[in-house]
């Protein structure tokens, strides 16, 4: 299995697959959505190159959200979240930084702006990071986050979710998304989920329960593969003008 290339032009983003900027069901987007068309162009070196992060910067507990805040275990349902980072040509993307953040088991974030009634867990910080290995794999140990209410509609709730930030080998591959959990009835009702127009695209963000990776008498597992933009690889690249 060959790795995703680290140079070459990026495949254009399918803007019909991603959420549009203006999604009135998610009210905050109304004044934050550009109203002019995006200026389209092929990728340049500025998007094809990007920062690199080595595994050497990682601490031992960086991908263990159960222990990485105080060293004492966080409360909640213990889960492994694992998967691969691939590109659109289905090749693994090794050596890229994956960062996650989430609410605690009660649905409360450790953030000065979160005033939800559910209590903070003194042993849960809520973030983790790792770098994909040679096969593009990553793994986190965490607790399953709780659902939480948010001021949008009168009674809107976010489904259980983990926020995920991923780098590729080029700055133009930069992506932030959210992982949802198979079977959560709140997914269908969520205005943020529903900014994505195509139900097949929403399915790509729903992690199935993965009993093959669950550890007996210890934790459940969910699998979440992440796909970044791919790169074109042809012999016709970088031709001089007129050729």
């Amino acid at each position: 299995m060959s790795d995703a290339p680290t140079t070459g032009p990026l495949i254009a983003r399918n803007r019909l697959w991603h959420p549009p900027a203006y999604t009135p069901g998610y009210k905050t987007s109304v004044t934050r959505a550009p109203s002019r068309a995006l200026v389209a162009m092929g990728s340049t070196l500025s998007e094809e190159t990007g920062p690199a992060f080595g595994r050497d910067m990682l601490g031992e507990l960086d991908n263990n959200l159960i222990l990485n805040f105080t060293g004492q275990p966080a409360i909640g349902e213990r889960i492994i979240v694992h998967g691969r980072v691939l590109d659109e040509t289905a090749r693994p993307v090794p050596g890229v930084l994956v960062e996650i953040w989430q609410a605690n088991a009660g649905g409360r974030y450790r953030h000065k702006k979160d005033g939800y009634t559910a209590p903070l867990d003194p042993n849960f910080g809520g973030c983790g990071r790792t770098v994909t290995n040679a096969e593009g794999r990553y793994e986190f140990l965490t607790i399953r986050p709780g659902a939480y209410p948010w001021p949008n509609g009168v009674n809107d709730w976010r489904p259980m979710h983990i926020h995920v930030s991923v780098f590729g080998s080029g700055f133009g591959q930069r992506l932030i998304t959210q992982m949802y959990f198979e079977g959560d009835p709140l997914i269908k009702r969520c205005p943020i989920v529903n900014t994505i127009p195509d139900p097949a695209a929403i399915d790509r963000l729903v992690a199935p329960l993965d009993m093959g990776m669950a550890i007996p008498m210890d934790c459940l597992a969910y699998r979440f593969d992440i796909v970044l933009r791919g790169r074109r690889q042809t012999h016709f690249e970088n031709r001089r003008e007129g050729m």
């Binding site: 998610y26 550009p34 200026v39 340049t44 920062p51 960086d62 809520g126 926020h163 700055f171 989920v193």
Partner: protein
């Protein structure tokens, strides 16, 4: 049925939401003890070659309100126009330039500030030279897919006039939205407007 094309679709984007700081800059938020320091605190180290500059600005929405929850990442070349990236094949960049930074709007005022070196012009393998620029990626609550734009410099008129990327902008009157204005020695101002009459040019790249 034709042969199948075995592409995977890119994972769809979702908003970074209001709590993006927990994941990307926990120390700045006060959630200390997990990572020794936040990533991307500066795109340069001591000894970086080039002119030191600082760029200040805010991100404003269509109602004229300044965002206090925006997070911006920047990516730039060194003073010679080389990227500090494994994907850079034209040469080796200045080892004291990392090129990448996380810039966080102030929780109270919404102002952000980037201190760096002025990047050099970037010659493209297929021809043409891009004017000195810093690429930006902007996320916040209410932004469904990270917005891509560039800071160019008003005082680089000649390079800007020859830049193939600025030339892509059909409505020339909008080009100034990408130009940082000099406000003092090494000081620039660059405000980002998400929506409205002075809306910043955003790219689909």
């Amino acid at each position: 049925m034709p042969q199948p094309l075995d592409y995977l679709p890119e994972s769809p984007s979702q908003t970074a939401g209001p709590y993006v700081h927990i994941g990307l800059v926990p120390n700045l938020l006060g959630n200390t003890g997990i990572y020794p320091e936040d990533l991307g605190r500066s795109p340069i180290r001591d000894g970086a070659k080039g002119q030191r500059i600082s760029i200040t600005g805010h991100v404003r929405d269509g109602a004229g309100m300044i965002l206090r929850d925006a997070l911006i990442e920047s990516w730039q070349a060194d003073a010679a126009g080389l990227y500090p990236s494994p994907g850079e094949r034209r040469g080796t960049a200045d080892p004291n330039v990392t090129g990448w930074a996380r810039i966080v709007a102030d929780f109270n005022t919404g102002d952000w500030r980037l201190t760096t070196i002025k990047p050099g012009p970037v010659a493209l393998p297929q021809g043409g030279v891009m004017a000195p620029h810093i690429s930006l990626w902007i996320v916040a609550r209410g932004i469904n897919t990270g917005l891509q734009t560039r800071i160019c410099f008003e005082d680089e008129a000649e390079a800007n006039a020859a830049c193939p990327v600025l030339a892509r902008i059909e409505h020339k009157a909008r080009i100034p939205t990408l130009l940082a204005k000099a406000t003092g020695a090494g000081e620039y101002r660059f405000d980002i407007v998400l929506q409205g009459p002075d809306e910043t040019v955003f790219f689909d790249i």
